[in-house]
């Protein structure tokens, strides 16, 4: 299954299983992208971040289509410690990007090393973004490294990682804390969409 990184484009059709619809939307992009990327192959994936796990390396190998990564430029802002992994604020940015037509950040990506699913988020930017900085809140199952990637308009890939110590992981926290989302689920279902 080809799941490389597309550019900013509309295309996620509503679908009962989001992952499938996204992949369907990406079909075809990978083939075109793969050819374009052969020209830029500086480093093997593992060279950028030494402690990258096998699981994550496999995902990055597949999604980067063989492209290498460089260390730096992308900055990942995360707390050193989190009391629970339920909602950890994260900011991903490329502070030195001029964000011009000729030189901008095309996409930003967050991965974890040890969550049940390693992908966290993919953000697609453009020359109209002005500033390459996105903030979000993420789940961490346990103490681990979080990885960030930036793909620039010149097709180079930049990477960094940050270790976050988690006192109570997201999965454990959700077991110990009562589920407070049932009312919200009912409310969303009552909208009658889908």
């Amino acid at each position: 299954m080809n799941r490389q990184f597309p550019e900013l484009r509309s295309g996620a059709a509503p679908h009962p299983t989001g992952a499938v619809s996204r992949r369907a939307a990406l079909a075809g992009i990978g083939a075109a992208g793969g050819i374009a990327l052969l020209a830029v192959t500086p480093l093997p994936v593992r060279a950028a971040v030494a402690e990258i796990s096998e699981r994550l390396a496999a995902i990055l190998d597949s999604r980067l289509g063989g492209r290498g990564m460089n260390d730096g430029r992308v900055v990942l802002g995360l707390p050193d410690r989190a009391d629970t992994g339920l909602s950890v604020p994260a900011t991903i940015s490329v502070p030195d990007s001029p964000m011009t037509e000729a030189d901008h950040v095309r996409s930003l990506h967050i991965f974890t090393e040890l969550n049940p699913q390693l992908e966290v988020a993919d953000y697609y930017l453009s020359r109209r973004s002005g500033k390459a900085e996105v903030s979000t809140r993420m789940r961490l199952a346990q103490t681990q490294n979080v990885f960030a990637l930036a793909i620039l308009s010149d097709d180079t890939v930049w990477a960094t990682s940050v270790k976050v110590t988690v006192t109570l992981g997201a999965c454990a926290a959700e077991i110990f804390l009562p589920d407070q989302n049932e009312a919200l689920r009912d409310r969303l279902r009552a909208r009658g969409g889908g």
Binding site: R9, P16, Y123, S126, G130, L188
Partner: protein, 108 residues
Amino acid sequence: MADGITRVAVPETAAKGEIIEIKALASHPMDNGFMFRDNGTRIPRWIIHRFEVDYNDELIFAADWHVAISANPYISFHTIATESGTINFRWFDDNGDIYTESAKITVV
């Protein structure tokens, strides 16, 4: 939106060419599919997997979200205030629901 599921923060006015920060929040359980109810049944995966933003009908920002995004997903990002108009937000969830929100901006 009237149903209160989504909220956005967009500056009402901005100077032409100014970089503005936009914030968006949706009320959603973002069920990751790994959790069980007290009675042992699994809570099925149900997340918002895609977020898109149009500025006067041109796509300016998009996100693919996975199960590690927290419940009630929050996001902030930036864009250049190019002209007065409408910024439209769309959240797509696994059940096929689309939540929408829009905000007006005046560029002077």
